[in-house]
């Protein structure tokens, strides 16, 4: 009897539709924790900005808002290509999915490269995380965001490899949808970071 139960547990008996819904819901739960992870930093930002408005104003002028705007355009564009990829996958168009994933990954890499240029320019001007509270927050918030971009890129790369291997079809595309949700959250957080740090600091 015990043997029978153990066997039963190991059999994949979950309905794919149910698996899809549960995975998606699980990702939404995780995204909630991500919002609160960044939320701590947003709260810190709010407090110190209210306490030292002059410092925030003077320091934010040292940031390259044009590069920040370019990165905003790139990241929102990559969100669109990801979303198109999800639809392509649901329609069973595997080729379009692979192309869209490739564009999304390239956008993510360009975003990271721009960030690298930005950081090195700051270091060249002797601006480090300990320069001021503003730059401490700037490096922490964009750095944590960048970490998410890297993780997102790894997730998307794995999905692309699986897509090339032909794992996804109109009836099975859970990874694509769930991976897409994560990528959109990265975009969503940047939508707040860009004006807060680059435009109205």
């Amino acid at each position: 009897m015990e043997q029978l139960t153990a066997d039963h547990v190991h059999v994949h008996h979950i309905d794919p539709v149910e698996e899809y819904e549960q995975s998606k819901f699980g990702m939404w739960l995780f995204l909630g924790t991500e919002i609160l992870l960044f939320g701590g930093l947003f709260a810190t930002y709010a407090i110190f900005r209210a306490k030292y408005p002059e410092m925030f104003h003077l320091d934010h002028l040292k940031l390259d808002w044009e590069l920040g705007a370019l990165n905003t355009i790139i990241l929102i564009g990559s969100s669109m290509t990801m979303a198109i990829g999800v639809t392509a996958s649901k329609k069973g168009n595997n080729k379009l999915l692979i192309i869209m994933l490739a564009i999304t990954i390239i956008c993510g890499l360009v975003f990271g490269f721009n960030k690298y240029l930005e950081y090195t320019a700051k270091f060249a001007h002797h601006i480090y995380p300990d320069t001021s509270i503003f730059f401490s927050l700037y490096f922490m918030m964009t750095g944590l965001h960048m970490l998410h971009v890297f993780i997102g890129l790894i997730v998307l790369l794995i999905i692309m490899i699986l897509a090339i291997k032909g794992r996804y079809s109109a009836s099975y595309n859970t990874h694509v949808e769930v991976g897409g949700l994560y990528w959109h959250l990265i975009d969503l957080i940047w939508i707040y970071l860009f004006p807060l740090l680059y435009l109205i600091g």
Partner: protein, 99 residues
């Protein structure tokens, strides 16, 4: 596997339109902050526009519009917690009477 589960598939065209709207809002954010200096309400305006953008991303790119109510609850609950975090911390910090 039921092929026809009632899942909404967003057409490609919708995403392109959404992208254009997001781009337009980004231009407005930059323009308002750089060209028309609204002074003290700068922050307020920028956050309103960012929230509109974030809502559009969640509704269409993340398909929240087509999700069931329990997903909505768990998508909005963290925002409630976030408002508590920022709101109560602010009230605490700015109402302390330092002896």
């Amino acid at each position: 596997m039921s092929e026809n589960h009632d899942e909404h598939i967003t057409p490609y065209k919708t995403y392109v339109i959404i992208w254009l709207i997001l781009m337009a809002l980004t231009v407005i954010t930059v323009y308002v902050a750089r060209e028309i200096d609204l002074g003290s309400i700068n922050l307020f305006v920028a956050m309103i526009i960012a929230s509109i953008k974030a809502t559009i991303v969640a509704l269409f790119f993340m398909h929240l519009k087509y999700e069931d109510s329990i997903t909505w609850v768990f998508a909005l609950y963290p925002l409630f917690l976030l408002s508590l975090l920022i709101g109560l911390t602010s009230i605490d910090v700015f109402n302390r009477i330092v002896p």
